[in-house]
């Protein structure tokens, strides 16, 4: 009888030991939900927007990723890429929480992307807003001596007033989207109307908080906690998203795209922060003139 009891005791001890070891090892090595973080900076143009879409889509499909925090530091870019980034982030948000932390500035197209987040954090001194659009001054249809086209607007895309109207439409879409997103913010809904938004102010983070353009002042730590809470996870890992997914993000240097901008047709819509203009002007004067759509001859003006 005694030997049997002894043997049972040993077996139980063994099994409990295995369980304890399993628990200990699982706490250390078993997979846990991931709160992904990444830093988005630079110009929002097709190359950077494409990279972001890839990352967001991979994170959305990855079951371990419970949510993400994106630090945004961007003064915008072209309208279409900014809208693309907004839609990619909004799609992610439909399935997993996404919180944005404005790191320095999220203006113009940068802010356009940020409003897709569940919650926006900013620091008190961050630059926020600058809602609006600009483009090179449109020109009128003209005959190009060496080119034969099939319609008056085939070469230019539209009349001067077509371009002006389209510029307003892009601006209206921008303002409407901001109003749509921010007025429904559960944390700090927007407190100003569209007419003020479209003035294009750049607000400090503290001002933006007061106006309801951001939800809170805080850092990435706050954002991570919020994402975990929104995701309903208590045990989670915080991982750099680009490393975890193996999809590095390469910011676009504004000066690398100057050549592209130089080739921009008048009337192509751009979404650029006003402070981008001085950056452009750091190059040659001719560069600034070309980008501004000014004629080569100072005696000519293209209104």
């Amino acid at each position: 009888m005694r030997p049997r009891l002894w043997r049972i005791g040993v077996e139980l001890i063994f099994l409990l030991t295995c369980l304890a070891i399993g628990l200990v090892l699982s706490m250390r090595f078993a997979p846990r939900p991931i709160i992904g973080t990444m830093h988005f900076e630079g110009l929002i143009v097709p190359p950077s927007a494409r990279q972001m879409w890839n990352i967001l889509e991979a994170a959305r499909r990855d079951p371990r990723v419970a949510g993400i925090v994106i630090e945004v530091s961007s003064f915008g870019g072209d309208a279409s890429s900014s809208e693309k980034l907004y839609h990619a982030m909004a799609k992610f948000r439909q399935e997993k929480p996404l919180v944005v932390v404005i790191d320095g500035e999220a203006t113009s197209g940068g802010y356009y992307a940020a409003i897709a987040a569940n919650k926006i954090y900013a620091t008190a001194a961050a630059a926020v807003g600058n809602i609006g659009v600009w483009m090179s001054r449109p020109t009128d249809p003209m005959i190009v001596p060496d080119v034969l086209s099939t319609g008056p607007y085939k070469l230019g895309g539209g009349s001067r007033f077509d371009n002006i109207r389209q510029l307003e439409m892009v601006k209206d879409a921008f303002v409407t989207t901001v109003l749509h997103e921010r007025t429904q913010s559960p944390y700090n809904p927007l407190r100003i109307d569209g007419s003020i938004l479209e003035e294009g102010h750049i607000y400090l983070g503290s001002e933006a908080l007061a106006l309801g353009m951001v939800d809170a002042l805080g850092s990435i730590s706050d954002a991570i906690a919020d994402v975990a809470m929104l995701a309903g996870v208590e045990q989670y890992e915080v991982r750099d998203l680009t490393e975890y997914l193996g999809l590095p993000f390469q910011p676009v240097d504004p000066f690398q795209v100057l050549g592209t901008l130089r080739r921009t047709w008048p009337g192509e819509v751009l979404l650029l922060d006003t402070r981008f203009i001085p950056l452009v002007n750091q190059e040659t004067e001719s560069t600034s003139l070309e980008i501004a759509g000014a004629p080569a001859s100072p005696g000519e003006k293209t209104p």
Partner: protein, 820 residues
């Protein structure tokens, strides 16, 4: 169950328990304490109805051209300050102005933009002279967003223009500057002189706009623009105006300023001007130019704004001055000559130029028989209206303006033009230093004839004594030394004892003016809006000078009084008298009571070239020293060796020859040789010019040439290179490169800029200073006649060449100059 089996089961259970936490944790990875519930934000409504291509509506009816006989003053557009506009932007405004009979003219700057220093925006050269020329026939000036600052002298010209009734349109458009430097947009430097300040802002309206916040509606129209009330006018990028202005157009309350925050109701169009510079109401300031250009001008009622501006510009009624000739004249202008005025070819050519000038401005100049013109003491002017007009002309413009050309005597006799401005003819007789004996005059072999000289006038009240003195004075004027005379003979021939009665214009506003050295240009307006422009002088040469001033509008050295220009006449009196027939006075014996013998000098204009001799060598030795070699002597010697018979003239003893002295010779050699030069007198240059005009052949020779030298300092010639441009001039010379002796004095380089007829036969060699500068220049007029003008300028002393070369060169010159 065996013990081994039991332990195996325990081991398996242990392994399961070991793995169980991994399995459980892995299974619960996607488990959430609370499920994520994304916010339901709904769809964003971004739909926009695309705008269809608008249905075309008929373009505004083109206005018909106004029925005017005379082109009105042009509107000058400043592009000379590299303004940020292009001529193509003025098409709409140009069409509106054309409908009002006003043309648009662009004042451009010929300097390429690339060569302008854009870092010094105040560094554009002064253009006030060009501006004054541009505004001479202008009625309005348009200045839009200049890149370079206006200078004070230029602004002064504009101030005077506006004070005279010209109109000024100032536009500073905020979207016209691409260079981010607010210093550039400082149109205020000009505008503030007229009480206008352009604020450095732009206006915007986020609520009511034409598709862009900078495209703002104008809502209030006041003063002259009140007729636009109720119309839809939109400005496309506009700045606000300030200063003592009369607002014409204001923005609505929803329009805001980028700079003047908190304000509304901004003035965007204003009438301005200050009493202090007589510009009140003559300045229109606008903060937008786009509204005047396509396609913006075609939107809404913007064309009415364009018409408002065009009306303002076209309504200018400038008070043109005499200096603005012929801008104040009508479409048909008559030209008449006072007295009996025989005209010579140069004078007719001057009249032709006057005619061309008037025709350029759309005017016609018609010669009018003086008998059809009555300029009496009441200054009526009616005969022209009686001129029958051809019936084919449906609506001829009235011939109501007149250019009157006459001598002072004729003007005083026929009109009251001189009296009206307080001028009368009289004489001043200085105290005589000696009294000529009657026998002095006959010994000169000259028969004086005051009548022939045409200086007596019934308008002049002269005593017999005065007439005698006048008579004597003319004799004095006729007498000139004969070039071939010896100094001793000249001394006896020069009359110095007769006091000359000086004819003067006695004025109420100045000391007497020497009649023979004064040209008066008057402007009078008489009832019926008839403009009379009178050119008065002492003789035909003076009148020609006056007409030339009118044609070239060169009044720089004239004294200006209201509607009177008092201009100096520099041509030497005696030569002018001799070469010109008398003016404005009857020449009949009955009129003068004097015999009608023709003075010898009156034959001068008809003297053919070569009648006095073939070659005149003028030794311009006024500055010569005793040691200077005489180049003129060399010329004379070589010519004599050639069988010619040159006449030698020394300026030191004979004075400068006048045109009368020159015209008798086919070839005049003006020799300075190695002498130290001094500027030639104006009358000497004029005499040389007149000589050439008569078809003379002239050689200028010397290291300081009287004609043709450049502004460069004198420099040493070491060698000469011959060219093949004028082979007859260099044929037979010793070498294609001639080396000169060392230590020669410096010579003034000849100019580089010559007319198309000029050929350079010799140039400075590579060892010379100013290498390649011309040394021997030959000019030949295109005239195929015998008397075609020919000029040779030798920019060195002939003595510097070897005997053989100098002889050959003079032979070549003689052949080239005297060949028929």
């Amino acid at each position: 169950m065996s013990s081994a089996h039991r332990w195996l089961l325990v081991l398996l259970a242990g392994i399961l328990l070991l793995a169980l936490p991994f399995a459980v944790r892995s299974a619960l990875t996607e488990w959430r304490t609370s499920p994520y519930r994304p916010a339901i934000t709904g769809q964003i409504e971004l739909a926009a109805t695309p705008e269809p291509t608008p249905t075309a509506v008929p373009a505004p009816r083109e206005p018909s051209a106004p029925v005017t006989h005379l082109r009105r003053g042009v509107v000058v557009v400043d592009l000379a300050h590299f303004n940020m506009v292009s001529p193509s932007q003025f098409q709409a405004l140009s069409a509106q102005l054309a409908a009002r009979g006003v043309a648009l003219r662009f004042w451009t700057n010929p300097t390429p933009m690339a060569s302008v220093d854009k870092t010094n925006l105040a560094g554009l050269p002064d253009q006030s002279d060009q501006l004054a020329n541009q505004l001479r026939d202008a009625s309005a000036l348009v200045v839009i967003s200049p890149l370079f600052l206006w200078k004070d002298t230029e602004i002064a010209v504009v101030e005077r223009f506006v004070a005279d009734g010209g109109r000024l349109l100032l536009i500073s458009d905020p979207d016209m500057l691409e260079v981010p430097d607010r210093f550039l947009r400082d149109l205020n430097r000009l505008a503030e002189r007229f009480g206008v300040v352009f604020h450095d802002d732009y206006l915007y309206d986020l609520i009511h706009n034409d598709r862009n916040f900078t495209h703002v509606y104008q809502s209030r129209f006041e003063d002259r623009a009140a007729k636009l009330q109720g119309k839809t006018i939109v400005f496309y990028g506009v700045r606000s105006l300030g200063g003592p202005i009369i607002s014409q157009v204001r923005t609505s309350d929803t329009v805001q300023s980028s700079l003047r925050t908190g304000l509304s109701g901004f003035t965007t169009v204003a009438i301005a001007g200050l009493t202090v510079n007589r510009s009140s109401g003559r300045v229109l300031a606008m903060g937008d130019f786009d509204v005047l250009t396509e396609p913006y001008v075609s939107r809404y009622d913007n064309r009415l704004m364009l018409e408002f501006v065009a009306d303002f510009l076209a309504a200018a009624q400038r008070e043109q001055e005499l200096a603005d000739f012929p801008a104040y004249l009508g479409a048909r202008v008559g030209l008449t000559f006072g007295g009996e005025l025989p005209l010579d070819a140069p004078f007719l050519a001057q009249v032709s130029q006057l005619q061309q000038l008037l025709e350029t401005g759309g005017r016609t100049l018609e010669l009018v028989n003086p008998r059809h013109v009555l300029l009496t003491t009441t200054v009526t002017f009616h005969a022209l209206t009686g001129t029958p007009q051809p019936s084919a002309a449906p609506d001829p413009p009235p011939l109501n303006d007149l250019i009157y050309v006459a001598s002072y005597e004729a003007a005083e006799r026929e009109t009251i033009l001189l009296r009206d401005i307080g001028i009368r003819l009289t004489e001043i007789t200085p105290t005589p230093t000696a009294t000529p004996t009657p026998s002095d005059i006959p010994t000169l072999g000259v028969t004086p004839s005051p009548a022939g000289l045409g200086m007596s006038s019934p308008a002049l009240t002269t005593t017999p004594k005065e007439e005698e003195e006048e008579h004597a004075s003319h004799v004095t004027a006729e007498v000139t030394p004969t070039p071939s005379a010896t100094p001793e003979e000249e001394a006896t021939l020069t009359p110095t004892s007769t006091p000359a009665a000086t004819r003067v214009l006695e004025t109420s506003f100045s000391p007497p003016l020497l009649l023979d050295e004064t040209v008066l240009i008057l402007r009078r307006q008489i009832p019926g809006d008839t403009q009379i422009t009178a050119v008065l002088g002492s003789d035909l040469a003076a009148l020609e000078s006056g007409l030339d001033r009118l044609v070239t509008r060169n009044f720089a050295d004239c004294v200006t009084r209201p509607d009177v220009l008092i201009c100096p006449f520099q041509l030497e009196e005696s030569s002018a008298v001799h070469e010109r027939p008398p003016t404005g006075t009857p020449t009949s014996e009955a009129a003068t009571g004097q015999p009608t013998e023709t003075p010898t000098v009156q034959e001068t204009p008809g003297v053919p070239l070569g009648s006095k001799g073939e070659v005149l060598v003028v030794d311009d030795n006024r500055t010569a020293t005793a040691d200077d070699p005489r180049e003129a002597d060399l010329y004379v010697r070589i010519l004599e060796e050639m069988g010619r018979a040159p006449v030698l003239w020394h300026t030191k003893s004979d004075g400068d020859p006048n045109v009368q002295d020159l015209v008798g010779y086919r070839w005049v050699i003006w020799s300075r040789g190695v002498y130290r030069g001094e500027p030639a007198q104006t009358k000497t240059l004029a005499a040389l010019a007149l000589y050439l005009e008569r078809g003379g052949h002239l050689t200028i020779s010397g290291r300081t040439p009287v004609l043709g030298g450049s502004n460069r300092p004198a420099s040493v010639i070491a060698d000469i290179v011959l060219t093949d441009e004028v082979p007859p001039l260099v044929v037979g010379l010793s070498s294609s490169t001639i080396t000169l002796a060392p230590d020669l004095p410096p010579a003034v380089p000849l100019g580089d800029q010559w007319g198309g007829d000029a050929k350079v036969a010799m140039r400075r060699g590579p060892n010379s200073a100013d290498a390649d500068a011309p040394v021997l220049v030959a000019l030949k007029s295109d005239d195929a006649s015998e008397e075609a003008r020919r000029v040779i300028i030798l920019g060195m002393a002939l003595n510097w060449l070897s005997d053989a070369d100098s002889t050959q060169l003079v032979r070549n010159m003689a052949t080239w100059m005297l060949e028929r």
